[in-house]
């Protein structure tokens, strides 16, 4: 993976995409290791922002949008959870970027799926991480939220951040990603979209002859 790229991890259900990223961050027992700048990823937890699948979020938890975004700041906080920085400003900016300022005081259970995902992206933003790992951010969300999130992610890429994303929708792979990792239990291919996202690799990953046109039907 290169710095400042948006990288997609694609593969069929059960291919081990989520498992791969969890292992990379040392959240589950695994063999092998993942490194960034020559250091193991698990040792640089502060530089990584991770958003798990939003279906794993407890929507009934008494927490507002603003407080949820504030959790991102905890990455750089002391043991009591305080950063000593201007937290309000960072949160307000992040909410502004994902266009959720109006919802700041709402409990997170009373948001649409797309709004919730934007909140989780805002939480990532305040973490100021170098590597952002997202697990299926676009699953079950509206088009408006999806494009709003892509705009933010491209902005982050322009700032030199690296984004790694588990992704399901093959139609958008060419327009979203710079590089792609294709897997189905085993690694099938990894590299720039143009040379990796090929019909041959797709057939290997999904077991069916496939052809994906940008913007067309798969």
């Amino acid at each position: 993976m290169k710095e400042g790229e948006i990288v997609g991890i694609i593969g069929p259900n059960g291919a081990g995409k989520s498992t791969l990223i969890k292992a990379m961050m040392d959240l589950i027992p695994h063999q092998g290791n993942a490194a960034m700048d020559g250091q193991p990823l698990a040792k640089q937890a502060q530089k990584i922002a991770y958003v798990q699948q939003k279906s794993n979020i407890d929507l009934t938890f008494p927490i507002t949008v603003r407080e949820c975004v504030a959790l991102g700041l905890q990455a750089h906080a002391n043991m009591f959870g305080y950063t000593g920085k201007n937290e309000g400003k960072a949160i307000a900016q992040a909410l502004e970027m994902v266009d959720m300022t109006d919802f700041a005081k709402r409990q997170i259970g009373r948001l649409s799926g797309g709004q919730l995902q934007r909140v989780l992206i805002a939480r990532c933003l305040v973490q100021e991480a170098d590597l952002i790992i997202l697990d299926e951010p676009f699953a079950g969300i509206d088009n408006r939220s999806e494009s709003a999130i892509m705009i933010v992610l491209r902005k982050l890429r322009a700032e030199g951040k690296t984004i790694l994303m588990v992704h399901h929708d093959l139609k958008t792979v060419r327009s979203y990603f710079d590089s792609v990792v294709m897997m189905n239990v085993n690694m099938i291919g990894a590299g720039p979209v143009a040379t990796t996202f090929t019909d041959t690799n797709l057939e290997q990953a999904y077991g069916l002859p496939m052809h994906v046109n940008q913007g067309g039907q798969s």
Binding site: F61, P62, I63, E67, Q74, Q107
Partner: protein
């Protein structure tokens, strides 16, 4: 009837102790209970409150303060349950079932071996009217420490309760906060023993918190309101129990349940009944 209570309250020292102790216990149980239910650890709360029993017996045997023995056994139970859950294929509720019933059984045997004035019935069901000055100060002291810890670590507790995976990915030691909560839970169980007894502590922990959970939009609100509600039902429960000469602990628990039942249909989060006023979109 309740007039008698106020009259006696002015007159009898034991009733003043009972009042202060039960309110303190109600508050601190509500505060910790909020975290217990949000983390889905209600059963764990039950287990720990039962597991302190052998500790109480051992304390009597060797003549050390009850808190020390009880806390040791409570924390031992918490560690055992967590170890079984994390390192075997046994599920959490099964591990809890095995450990807490064993500890309770052990406690019953040990208490029987100790020849003291301690009555097993009082330990199991509480006897707040017999609280001594020493116990009351201890209760207040422990409650103050627990609440101070919650305030200090509030942000971390919120993060690890809401999204433990994210916390772990950030490199935060979520287990440390898990055990911090277990320690606080044990301390609360030890002091709650006096007012509602070992068997019923879990009700004092989770019923006020569960009632508030139906309405709260923020964790801070939930913690404060649960504490207030816990204190209030403990107070009213004591007044009713004393006035009608019925078991105070059971009175507190049933009162909590009544409040829960009354509030349940009005929960905005569940939308069982649409309120004509005050509904926020």
């Amino acid at each position: 009837m309740t007039l008698t209570f106020w009259h006696d309250l002015a007159e009898f020292h034991f009733l003043q102790n009972a009042l202060l102790t039960s309110i303190t216990v109600g508050i601190v149980a509500g505060v910790i209970g909020s975290f217990v239910i949000l983390r889905g650890m209600s059963l764990m709360g039950d287990a720990i409150s039962h597991a302190v029993l052998p500790g109480v017996a051992v304390s009597f045997m060797v003549g050390m303060p009850t808190v020390v023995g009880a806390a040791t056994f409570g924390i031992a139970a918490a560690i055992l349950i967590t170890l079984i859950r994390q390192h075997s294929l046994i599920k959490s509720d099964t591990a809890i079932g095995i450990i807490f019933s064993s500890f309770l059984a052990l406690g019953v045997i040990l208490i029987a071996l100790v020849h003291t004035t301690t009555n097993l019935f009082h330990i199991l069901f509480g006897n707040v009217l017999a609280v001594q000055d020493k116990d009351m100060y201890l209760t207040i002291g422990i409650a103050a420490v627990v609440i101070a810890l919650v305030v200090l670590f509030f942000r971390r507790l919120r993060l690890t309760s809401f999204d433990p995976v994210m916390a772990q990915a950030m490199g935060i030691h979520t287990n440390a906060y898990h055990y911090l909560l277990m320690v606080m839970l044990t301390l609360v169980a030890v002091v709650s023993m006096q007012s509602v007894g070992t068997i019923l502590i879990v009700a004092l922990l989770i019923t006020p918190a569960a009632t508030i959970y139906l309405f709260a939009n923020r964790l801070r609100t939930m913690v404060i309101a649960s504490g207030a509600l816990g204190g209030l039902i403990s107070f009213v429960g004591l007044v009713i129990g004393y006035s009608f000469n019925i078991a105070v602990g059971s009175c507190i628990v049933l009162l909590g349940t009544c409040v829960f039942i009354v509030c349940f249909p009005f929960s905005k989060k569940q939308n069982l009944i649409k309120l004509p006023i005050g509904g926020r979109s």
